[in-house]
């Protein structure tokens, strides 16, 4: 099911605006703790998740807001979760990195989600349900052993799982050149898992490739990987960006997925779309801010 140009733009713009607002709310003191902004990577979530069906499973990581919103999650519930409110996705218990809604899950431990996604793929295979698992990891996560344990088993047992590696080239402050020997594609191919690598932030290039790869997982039942070379325009979390500011500026000029796809739209379509999303984000954070705080429901201390 291909989405229209304006729909794709709207979801990416929604993610962008949500993340910008979340970062802004830290300075107002309404958000505490930490967050990991997806700004710059929006085309990945939208390009991949637009191809999934409601019975498919998505496992995400610390940088999960973009995946959640592309999955169809409510911005108001996510904003409330970030603010630690009872109306949050999981009632304020999980916060930014630990959410569950429908078949969407995220957790804040690097790599641990990968076998969880594989387990759900195995369950689907045993029952012949035909659904697949998609798991989003980053270049930094490729340092974790459990990822390779799972690749091996997924290939041995022919599990319907899509590994999505978003290589944003920096694990917090560590450049990928200091963390990954060999090639990322080679790591999958070593296990006999077909891997497709893209160097683009154009959602219209990611979408059809993801459609093809996911279609192949559905038809063969075998695992596959998509490696998306991407760039984040903000810090890893907050205040921990050691990259050269000029370099980041240049990346943004060249690779901004909203700029790239936005050029395809008429102003008459784009402006009302942006206005609607701006209103939605304002309302989401407003309602989240006025919601009740959670409690332990009278449980004794």
């Amino acid at each position: 099911m291909m989405s229209s140009h304006i729909e794709l733009y709207r979801t990416m713009y929604l993610i962008r605006r949500f993340e910008e607002q979340a970062l802004a709310e830290f300075s107002t003191g309404k958000l505490v703790g930490t967050t990991h902004a997806y700004i710059g990577q929006e085309a990945n979530a939208v390009g991949v998740i637009s191809n999934l069906k409601s019975e498919d499973v998505v496992w995400s990581n610390h940088r999960c807001h973009g995946h959640f919103l592309a999955y169809g999650g409510e911005p108001a519930a996510l904003a409330a979760e970030l603010m630690g409110k009872s109306t949050g996705i999981v009632g304020g218990r999980g916060g930014s990195q630990h959410i569950h809604w429908k078949n969407f899950f995220s957790n804040g431990i690097q790599g641990g989600i990968v076998p969880n996604a594989a387990g759900m793929a195995l369950s689907s295979k045993i029952d012949g349900r035909g659904s697949i698992s998609a798991v989003f990891i980053g270049d930094g996560t490729l340092g974790q052993g459990v990822v390779y344990e799972t690749m091996n088993i997924a290939a041995l047992w022919q599990l319907p799982i899509l590994f999505v590696v978003e290589n944003n080239h920096f694990a917090q402050t560590t450049p990928v050149e200091m963390a990954i020997a060999g090639s990322i594609v080679g790591r999958f191919e070593g296990f006999g898992i077909n891997a497709t690598e893209l160097f683009t932030s154009d959602v219209l290039e990611i979408l059809p490739v993801a459609e093809q790869v996911i279609g192949k997982i559905r038809s063969t039942g075998c695992p596959a990987a998509i490696i998306l070379n991407t760039h984040r325009f903000m810090a890893h979390s907050k205040g921990d960006d050691t990259r050269d500011k000029e370099m980041v500026k240049k990346l943004r000029q060249k690779y901004d997925p909203l700029q790239i796809h936005g050029l395809r739209l008429d102003t008459a379509d784009k402006e009302p779309c942006e206005a609607e999303v701006n209103q939605l984000i304002d309302a989401a954070f407003f309602h989240a801010n006025s919601a009740d705080l959670p409690s332990l429901n009278g449980r004794p201390a």
Binding site: R93, G112, V114, P115, G119, M120, A121, S123, D127
Partner: protein, 339 residues
Amino acid sequence: MTKTVTTVLESLNEGLRTAMRKDPNVILLGEDILDPYGGAFKVTKGCSTEFPERVFTTPISEAAMLGIANGLAMSGKRPVVEIMFGDFITLAMDQILNHASKFHWMYNESVDVPLVVRTPMGGRRGYGPTHSQSLEKHFLGIPGLTVIAPNSVIDAGDLLGTAILESTGPILFVEHKLLYTSSIAKIGQGDWVDFSLEVDGAKYPTATLGFSGVTKHHCTIATYGYNLELAKKAAVELAYNDEIFCEIIVLSQLSPFDLAAIEASLKKTKKLVTIEEAGLTLGWGSEVIAQACEGQPDLLVKRVAAIDLPIGNSKALEDVILPSEQKIVQSIREMLKLN
């Protein structure tokens, strides 16, 4: 049942196979669990022959195995994972602590993770520092995780079957290696000729073992798993040599746990000895004693446990490091100032 079950191993095997027969969602994962080998300690023997499509032998990948089991448990299955030696469970610790145990609460009670992790723990087989430990102490007190340990007086197979078929959250099921060959207790006969048994109605019951016909017990022994066998021998020696009668409380559910049976016994004895095979410091016994003393501050207490060292390979070292019948007897005599 065609064959008479006489050992705890046979009971566990029967319990596992019965659970698989009752619920097609029960899936086994583990290393070397396929027949004809049937697992390093044979608890899974016969399972892959009877249910070939539901038994998955895995590579040596404990973390992925547990992670996959978590995913299965969250999508309608009841996975049972065998960790070949309890010592290897550290390789799966992240999946137990940061995944399985947290998901239910962290996701606002919107998911269940009905998972059983079975593993043999314990020493006395000369396997050395990385194949002899009792690591369950590191899993006690983890929110969301239940820790169960079978023993010879409560039906181990039933206990395992209940854990597999009725759990709503992750369970660590700790089987002491020497328990496998231990005979199922026949109370009032053989080694147990002097004892009477009371079992509470809990899902994972606590048993109280007293000397039949004795109206006054002098001391309460709290223990679990295989160490009940040592406690029993020590209690018999103290009864015959010192005329000191111990009431033994054996817990099946270690965490979270119910102090009621221990408290009831302590109201009569006011003396508590805990016995465990893990290292003494910051262990199970420490917590049991702390909770008991919070309720009854006038207790005499003593912990019997291993010396805080890795477990030596040599039998001579194992014997010195691990608790023994004699150490228990000695500790109780010291506590009661009988020396």
